[in-house]
């Protein structure tokens, strides 16, 4: 091949290589920026839940455990918590529907719900559980019914916020940064 043609061919390939490299780098940087934006959005969301008194610092501590335990920790944990809590709330409702309420059983249900709730940092629902447990210890059915309704209300708020949180988290772990 003529030396000038060879030079042209080589410079063309080099240009193409540089262009592809630059495009890839640019996409990677854009992706990283989008991830940072989404992560910031998620931490802002956690802060808003703390500011509203729905969760305390344990929630963030729990969330940060995924560094050592894999990215899917919360995506698996939160739906389990929601499902198990809903089951316990149904059992509490059923117990209080009985003509003769087994307050000891109701106490145990409160303790069960409070345990998992406190461990994920959902302080408002945990506090409400404590109040229901005190009503159950006092064997006061009317107060138990009132407290149960409060727990259900608090839990509904918590569930909605957790589901919104999970949506952000899913986008982070599945690398879905579109629309950031």
């Amino acid at each position: 091949m003529h030396s000038s043609s060879l030079r042209f061919f080589l410079s063309l390939n080099l240009s193409l290589l540089l262009f592809c490299g630059a495009s890839f780098f640019s996409s990677a940087m854009a992706g990283l920026t989008a991830l940072e934006a989404l992560t910031e959005q998620l931490y802002d969301f956690i802060q808003s839940m703390e500011d509203d008194g729905i969760v305390d610092y344990h929630f963030k501590d729990c969330y940060n455990m995924k560094e050592a335990n894999g990215p899917f920790l919360f995506i698996e944990l939160i739906p389990t918590y929601i499902s198990d809590s809903e089951t316990t709330l149904e059992e509490m409702t059923a117990e209080l529907d009985q003509p003769l309420v087994k307050f000891k059983h109701l106490e145990q249900l409160c303790t069960r719900l409070k345990g998992g709730t406190a461990c994920i940092g959902a302080c408002r629902v945990a506090t409400s559980c404590g109040e229901l447990r005190r009503a159950a210890i006092a064997k006061n059915k009317d107060n138990c019914l009132l407290r149960l309704e409060m727990i259900k209300g608090d839990f509904s708020i918590l569930r909605n916020r957790l589901e919104a949180f999970l949506e952000l988290e899913r986008r982070i772990v599945t690398n879905d940064y579109q629309g950031c």
Partner: protein, 132 residues
């Protein structure tokens, strides 16, 4: 009460998480993982006792109080009667003094209110000279 019997594996601290709640088990196990502690799970007191009957040993046992089949108080008494000298820490949401004392009297070395945190676990490990 019990004294440290050293790591069962010779190098890594081992722990048994005894709780019937799967969310709590998951969180406590992840917490222990983060601290480099090898951990196992039992979902009630009887499973914990059976594990020990089969020859398993653990440096640390995190024992929930309220569980079906065999609760934490019964399980702790049983383990101590079997001669288990592991550090047993009661973990519960109960905060009434008499309830905590009843649990302690069953043979616990310590009691921690849920939720457990890294700092609580580290303070337990410091007490038994596992960490500096």
């Amino acid at each position: 009460m019990a004294t440290s019997n050293g790591s069962s594996t010779g190098t890594k601290i081992t722990a048994l998480v005894v709780d019937d709640d799967r969310v709590i088990n998951a969180i406590h196990c992840k917490l222990l993982n983060k601290l480099g502690i090898e951990n196992h799970v039992a979902t009630n007191g009887k499973e914990a006792v059976d594990l020990h009957c089969s020859g398993k040993k653990f440096d640390l046992i995190l024992m929930d109080r309220d569980m079906p089949i065999m609760n934490g108080i019964e399980a702790t008494r049983e383990l101590r009667a079997m001669g288990v000298r592991s550090i047993i820490v009661g973990v519960s949401t109960r905060s009434i003094k008499q309830e905590i004392q009843e649990f302690m009297d069953s043979g616990l070395d310590d009691y921690q209110e849920k939720p457990l945190t890294s700092s609580k676990v580290i303070s337990i490990l410091r007490k038994i000279d596992f960490v500096d």
